[in-house]
């Protein structure tokens, strides 16, 4: 990935014609340490924190009931993975998140495209959507449980609800922000309405839509944690609540860590998507 960045920024310099190969983003003493050194430094603090935590737990300064040692959590992870229960729960959680994301994403994107293109659709839809958006979507949880009970449908619905709005807003915004001069150009070049959308409007709206996707991934994950914590017979959240019954803090910490890792992974995938799809964009494919 760093290789890719270097090629991109190098071509940027060709254009500027400076021929300078050092990165302009380096500040102060940074050039002395170098890129690799800075990366190492950024990992120093988190690693130190884990080491201190391990020492504190092992020395008995912190009760295992309060916070088990990281090594203990890792041990539990291996044990649970070996029995297969951890992977099963992980699969269930990921499936819920993916289904909810696909549903909410489709609804948000469709509504966003409609409202982005048509003033009539905007008048008909936008105010209602904005009013529903004003409700913190997690506040709807009791109502959703009354409607759908505690089950798969309720969890998927909650995830979809959280995903719909960020996708909707960013799709609408992206379409609105497409340069009208480029749309005019499309008309001059004789593009029909379908081609105009495919060649100009959607590519122009893509940076904004992908921002929506990244934001929606975070909301989806949050919705899933809440839904699984309220009531579930399987999934990572179930694992955590089950462990609470038996005061298994090691399992609870493990589930929290899993939530964190998957959240980071989802964000990384979204970033990768941005890099690939927005290679033309100076802010994404270029020097960053």
């Amino acid at each position: 990935m760093s290789n890719l960045e270097q090629t991109a920024s190098a071509s940027g310099f060709d254009r500027a014609g400076t021929g300078d190969t050092s990165s302009p983003s380096h500040r102060g003493l940074a050039p002395v340490i170098g890129k690799r050194g800075l990366l190492l430094l950024s990992w120093l603090a988190p690693v130190m924190l884990v080491i201190i935590w391990e020492i504190a737990a092992k020395a008995g300064w912190v009760s295992p009931q309060v916070l088990p040692a990281p090594s203990k959590v890792l041990h539990t992870a291996i044990k649970l993975a070996a029995t297969g229960s951890l992977l099963g729960d992980l699969r269930v959680s990921l499936l819920r998140a993916a289904t909810g994301f696909a549903l909410g994403g489709s609804v948000g994107f469709t509504l966003g495209v409609l409202v982005g293109f048509s003033r009539i659709a905007e008048a008909a839809i936008d105010r209602s959507v904005q009013m529903i958006r004003a409700i913190p979507f997690l506040a709807l949880l009791p109502l959703v449980i009354v409607w759908l009970g505690v089950g798969e449908a309720e969890k998927i619905f909650l995830v979809a609800l959280g995903v719909t709005f960020p996708i909707y807003i960013n799709t609408t915004l992206g379409i609105r922000q497409v340069d009208p001069k480029l749309i005019e150009l499309g008309r001059i070049q004789g593009l029909g309405p379908f081609e105009l959308i495919r060649r100009i409007v959607l590519p122009g709206a893509l940076p904004s839509i992908l921002t929506g996707v990244r934001y929606a991934l975070a909301t989806a994950w949050l919705a899933l944690v809440v839904a699984e914590t309220i009531g579930a017979e399987s999934g990572i959240g179930f694992l955590a609540m089950d462990a609470r019954e038996f005061l298994r803090t090691d399992v609870i910490v493990l589930t929290i860590a899993i939530y964190a890792v998957i959240g980071v992974a989802a964000d990384a995938i979204a970033r990768l998507l941005e890099r690939r799809l927005l290679a033309w964009h100076p802010n994404y494919g270029g020097s960053r």
Binding site: S11, L182, I188, L191, R199, I200, G204, W280, P282
Partner: protein, 242 residues
């Protein structure tokens, strides 16, 4: 396969004109921008349109391009005109050849785009991104995109205004050469009197929505009209010329 450029017609008089405008009227509400304007441009003829800001010359160009509705009169053109604007208007998410072939519904769109880019001296940059281009290069791509359509009418809306002086001179030569080769009728809207004198076969000056002055340089040569005369027509009293 390299696409064939249609052979230059033997006589412009036999060809249908690139555009005929009769009694054109354009207005925004009560404000009349263009009143009863008549204009005929032959194929292969290079017409420059001068005028102060707000005289209606860009409005005329937009009406010819079919971008705005017209309130009265007729515009008869055999085909959709091509336009080059002051800014290149390249799609940043498409490579250069994709930009040039935009709207080109031919099976050999790639070959045509490659040929057009080669004509403007960018034949080795087919897969490059617009962001890697200088202002002059980007404008050359816009010119290639216009000419690849084989237009019978080419509308140029101050296409050289944002370029530096040297690039502008090179662009003048390139445009003159390509127009001679493809033979579209050209309407160049410009502020630059010298540009009009160098490039045009005929110079028009627009004032208050009508064509107030016309001068044929073709045959007579660029020396047949002085800079000072044209500036006077534009309402600029030049002491240096007197």
């Amino acid at each position: 396969m390299i696409p064939q450029v249609p052979a230059p017609p033997s006589s412009p008089a036999i060809d249908p004109p690139a555009v005929v405008v009769s009694n054109l009227r354009r207005a925004y509400g009560d404000r009349v921008i263009i009143r009863n304007l008549n204009l005929r441009i032959e194929r292969g003829e290079f017409v420059a349109l001068l005028g102060e800001s707000g005289c209606g010359k860009t409005t005329l160009l937009r009406a010819l391009a079919g971008l705005d509705p017209i309130e009265g009169g007729r515009i008869v053109a055999p085909r959709r005109p091509a336009v080059v604007f002051q800014e290149p208007r390249l799609l940043p998410w498409d490579t250069l050849w994709r930009n040039v072939s935009l709207g080109l519904a031919a099976p050999d769109a790639y070959a045509r785009a490659a040929f057009a880019l080669a004509e403007v001296g960018l034949g080795d940059r087919l897969d490059d991104w617009p962001r890697n281009l200088s202002g002059g290069q980007a404008q050359r791509v816009a010119l290639a995109r216009a000419l690849v359509q084989e237009p019978q009418l080419l509308l140029l809306d101050e296409p050289f205004a944002a370029l530096d002086a040297l690039t502008r001179i090179r662009m003048h030569d390139l445009v003159r050469e390509l127009v001679a080769k493809h033979r579209p009728g050209v309407l160049l809207v410009t502020h630059d009197v010298d540009e009009a004198i160098t490039l045009a076969d005929r110079i028009l000056v627009m004032r208050h929505g009508v064509i107030a002055f016309e001068h044929q340089t073709k045959g007579a040569g660029p020396a047949s009209i002085s800079r000072g005369d044209l500036l006077a027509e534009l309402g600029v009293v030049s002491h240096a010329a007197a």
